[in-house]
């Protein structure tokens, strides 16, 4: 089944299985998807751990991410340099966190990073406005946007500083039953 493949060594596949929520088959499938994005840049042989990163523009061209309004933020949150260049490790990590078996706490951590546009560890009103505009494709009037942002912060803010820290965000997420099923990319 997987014994004939020459892309990874067995130890590498075991390590990937330990560190992600994927099975052997899925990891190999992910590698072929990664390779498809840039066939001349990505080597087929990963046994020597090549240092190969794909730029943001190539990753967001994937059909699973192409139409997502947060695609840039997603890829930036999982990249090591914060600019969206993903190595294969980061690529697998991204889809592992977004898979259906990842626990709620892990997803909440990364969701917070994605919605934090100015990367200051808080979700302030500007972050929410940007999120809302991307969600509704700017169809709401500016007054409605203001109203919704105020109400959203009011509902979730526990310590009264008019912005959401990670604790507020996580608390609000635990009360949202759909989070696990919506924060999920099928690959």
């Amino acid at each position: 089944m997987g014994n004939k493949q020459t892309i990874f060594t067995d130890e590498q596949l075991d390590a990937y299985q330990d560190c992600t929520f994927f099975t052997r088959k899925e990891i190999l499938r992910l590698h072929s998807r990664y390779h498809e994005l840039a066939p001349h840049l990505v080597p087929m042989d990963y046994t020597k751990e090549p240092d190969c990163k794909l730029p943001l523009a190539l990753i967001v061209a994937m059909p699973e991410l192409n139409e997502n309004p947060f695609r840039n933020r997603i890829v930036e949150s999982f990249s090591e340099d914060g600019l969206g260049n993903l190595s294969f490790n980061d690529f697998v990590d991204m889809f592992s966190v977004l898979s259906e078996m990842a626990p709620r706490e892990l997803k909440a951590i990364y969701a917070f990073k994605i919605y934090d546009f100015n990367v200051d560890n808080f979700l302030c009103k500007e972050d929410l406005e940007k999120t809302l505009n991307r969600l509704t494709k700017e169809e709401l009037t500016p007054e409605e946007v203001q109203l919704v942002c105020e109400k959203a912060i009011e509902e979730a803010d526990l310590d009264g500083d008019h912005k959401l820290s990670f604790a507020d965000f996580e608390n609000m997420i635990t009360r949202a039953p759909d989070f696990l099923s919506t924060f999920h990319i099928r690959i």
Partner: protein
């Protein structure tokens, strides 16, 4: 190995220091959560010493679950390598335990991979979920659950009832013993010698004629009780036990399936509060594929937010109604509820009359006879179409806010569908037992032997007809209504066509249809043992039909159907249908006299009496054991024990709830304290600054 580790070590050295809390890579920015710090083991990052890492920290601690750590993959792999490199000094028992745990997890991984591979319709469901959202996907997931449930039930029935019957019938043709008056034992099931060619098709549709005396229906099974030297099999007992176990099996499957959903629903408190923040942060379905569905999702979110803003506005308005307007609103609501209730009662009356009429015209032949046979099904289906539409219009007049309107309409539909089935069963029962043996027709055999020589087969035929008619209606709707509607809407450009638009896939109505079909199967399984198999095939056909209509004819709904709460709701409605069928089962087993001319219970006064009869055939020790279990000395302490366990869990749950509330209040207080202190500091620094 060491060189690789060295390379890993040096590559991760930079990130390692970053992880320790300095600036480092943005990816490793510490999210202010205590959890991400606790789980990370503390490692010495210099390459030379990692190889020498020994018993030290990992002595008796099992390898941590790396998958849940929010750190980059390269770090995780390094950690896992180091963990594997370490050879902790363990006792032999601990190392045995560790190796067993490892092989268990590997076994679990391979099972998971295998199950993922054979999961039925996985790709189709992914496609549906990506294009139409979670609400529609939940309908198809529910359908798949029912298909698997029916198939497993059929395996159960086939193994214990069908195959032994086939074997015994082919092996031995012993004379079947019958008791009772001669008139009651008359059962003419042989089809007429010379039949028209189309009557085979009509018989197939109604279960009569050549299909009546087959394994399909109760009447064909004999009451063979094989008692060999080392092998004995009691078909009536097996039949009864299989029916009871079938119900228990379905109950277990449904509650197990509901388990996770209920846990999520209880933990999140139903998600009633915080609707705005919820929509903003969890509204976007990351699994959305394709341009069209993304645009629709955005419109959808826009619609949801507008609905919420509108609901707030209505709430503010409602609070400011005058007394006179309030009285008018409430009285109009009561009147309209009565109107809706009256409509439902009218539908029940129509079903009652149709069933009586159909039963009286049982001897008609030809196509007219077929229509008379199908009259109850036709009336039920017509009622299920017409009455909910009228109820929806009434609900609009009642002017509840949108979410309550949906719930009220759903509850009315559930009531209508389930109780209409109950009315049908009640009518049949009244015909068969003449309202419990009042009239003269039922005096001789305790049931109406003239019209129903084998009444169980007749009931089975009614359920069979209901199932088949449901399937035919689904296919007919697909071909005659949905495809033409799409063609008309797409090709014509008139205003009316645009206003009507393409069809929407309405999830609740479709789910109720499935629950109704499953309830019919449960009710009929005792009388028509192959009904679960027929239902499996029917649901498979329905899956493909609905999928075709979804992708060709439907547009995604503007209003989403919340999938987590709804899963619990679907299963609750299914349980309601199950309990209805259970009532019918218990009544048939315990109260009604079985037919004396057919079936495995023909010589008994009720189906239940086979159990006491065979009980006294058991050995003395088994009898004594069973008596003891049923006695008060055993059962009362058992009940007490379970009550104590339940009280313990309830107390635990309430304690957790109180502590959660206390912690929330404490959080708020601490934040306010912090703000107060900050203000004090500002004031103090100002006065100090001024003073200086």
């Amino acid at each position: 190995m060491t060189t690789q580790l060295q390379r890993q070590g040096s590559a991760t050295a930079v990130q390692g220091t970053g992880y320790m809390g300095d600036q480092g890579s943005p990816r490793l920015q510490r999210v202010p959560s205590s959890r991400s710090n606790h789980n990370a083991p503390q490692f010495n990052w210099s390459p030379a010493s990692t190889a020498q890492e020994d018993a030290g920290q990992e002595a008796a601690v099992p390898p941590k679950d790396l998958r849940g750590l929010p750190i980059p993959m390269a770090l995780k792999r390094a950690i896992s390598q180091v963990q594997q490199m370490q050879v902790p000094v363990l006792s032999s028992f601990q190392s045995w335990k560790r190796s067993k745990a490892k092989s268990l997890s590997r076994g679990r991984k391979s099972i998971r991979g295998f199950l993922n591979y054979i999961k039925l319709w996985r790709k189709s469901l992914n496609q549906i979920g990506g294009n139409f959202g979670d609400g529609v996907q939940s309908y198809f997931l529910f359908l798949r659950f029912l298909v698997v449930l029916n198939f497993l039930s059929f395996m159960l029935i086939a193994g214990f009832v069908l195959i032994p019957s086939i074997v015994f019938r082919s092996v031995a043709s012993d004379p079947v013993n019958m008791t009772g008056p001669a008139e009651c034992r008359q059962y003419d099931h042989n089809p007429a010698a010379l039949v028209k060619f189309y009557s085979y098709f009509l018989d197939f549709l109604s279960g009569t004629g050549f299909m009546e005396y087959t394994y399909l229906f109760y009447g064909y099974y004999n009451n063979t009780m094989v008692a060999g030297s080392d092998f004995s099999y009691n078909i009536p007992l097996a039949y009864l036990f299989t029916a009871v176990f079938y119900f228990a099996f379905c109950l277990i499957c449904i509650t197990a399936h509901m388990g996770t959903a209920v846990r999520v629903a209880v933990a999140t408190g139903g998600g009633a509060t915080g609707s705005y923040s919820r929509i903003v942060f969890t509204g976007w379905d990351y699994g959305c594929l394709g341009d069209r569905s993304t645009k629709l999702k955005q419109k959808n979110l826009h619609y949801q937010l507008q609905v919420d803003l509108e609901e707030d506005r209505i709430k503010n308005e409602a609070a400011s109604l005058t007394l006179g307007q309030k009285i008018f609103l409430y009285s109009s609501r009561i009147v309209l509820s009565l109107v809706a209730f009256g409509l439902i009662i009218a539908a029940f009356f129509a079903i009652y009359q149709a069933t009586i009429f159909s039963q009286s015209k049982i001897d008609e032949i030809g196509v007219l006879g077929l229509i008379y046979e199908y009259l109850p099904s036709i009336v039920i289906t017509a009622g299920n179409f017409v009455v909910p539409v009228l109820c929806d219009q009434i609900a609009l007049l009642e002017r509840y806010n949108p979410s309550i309107t949906v719930i009220v309409a759903l509850l009315r539909s559930v009531f209508l569908r389930m109780v209409s089935l109950g009315v049908l069963l009640f009518t049949l029962w009244s015909q068969i037992t003449c309202f419990q043996g009042v009239s003269g027709k039922c005096k001789l055999c305790h049931y109406n032997y003239e019209s129903y020589p084998c009444w169980e087969t007749r009931v089975g035929q009614e359920m069979y007809k209901l199932t088949l008619f449901d399937l035919l209606i689904t296919i007919a709707m697909l071909v005659l209504v949905e495809f033409p509607r799409r063609i008309v809407v797409d090709s014509s450009s008139s205003k009316l066509a645009q206003m009507v638009g393409r069809q929407e896939f309405v999830v609740p109505a479709n789910v109720l249809g499935l629950v109704y079909g499953q309830t019919v199967v449960w009710t009929g399984a005792l009388f028509c043992p192959l009904l679960p198999l027929i239902n499996t095939l029917k649901f498979v056909i329905v899956f493909y039909c609905k999928k075709i209509t979804l992708f060709s004819n439907c547009r995604p709904a503007a209003k989403t159907f919340r999938s987590t709460k709804s899963k619990v709701f679907f299963l609750l409605v299914l349980l309601f249908g199950w309990s209805l069928a259970l009532v019918a089962l218990i009544y048939s087993i315990a109260q009604i006299h079985p037919s004396m001319s057919c079936g495995p219970f023909r010589s008994l006064s009720s189906m239940w009496t086979i159990i006491p009869d065979s009980f006294y055939g058991l050995s003395q020790t088994s009898q004594g054991f069973l008596f003891y279990i049923g006695s008060q000395r055993f059962s009362i302490p058992l009940v007490l024990f379970f009550s104590v366990v339940m009280c313990y869990f309830i107390a635990l749950a309430s304690v957790y709830g109180t502590s959660v509330n206390l912690l929330k209040a404490q959080l708020k207080l601490e934040a306010r304290d912090k703000q107060f202190l900050v203000k004090q500091i500002e004031a103090l620094s100002r006065t100090l600054g001024v003073a200086r």
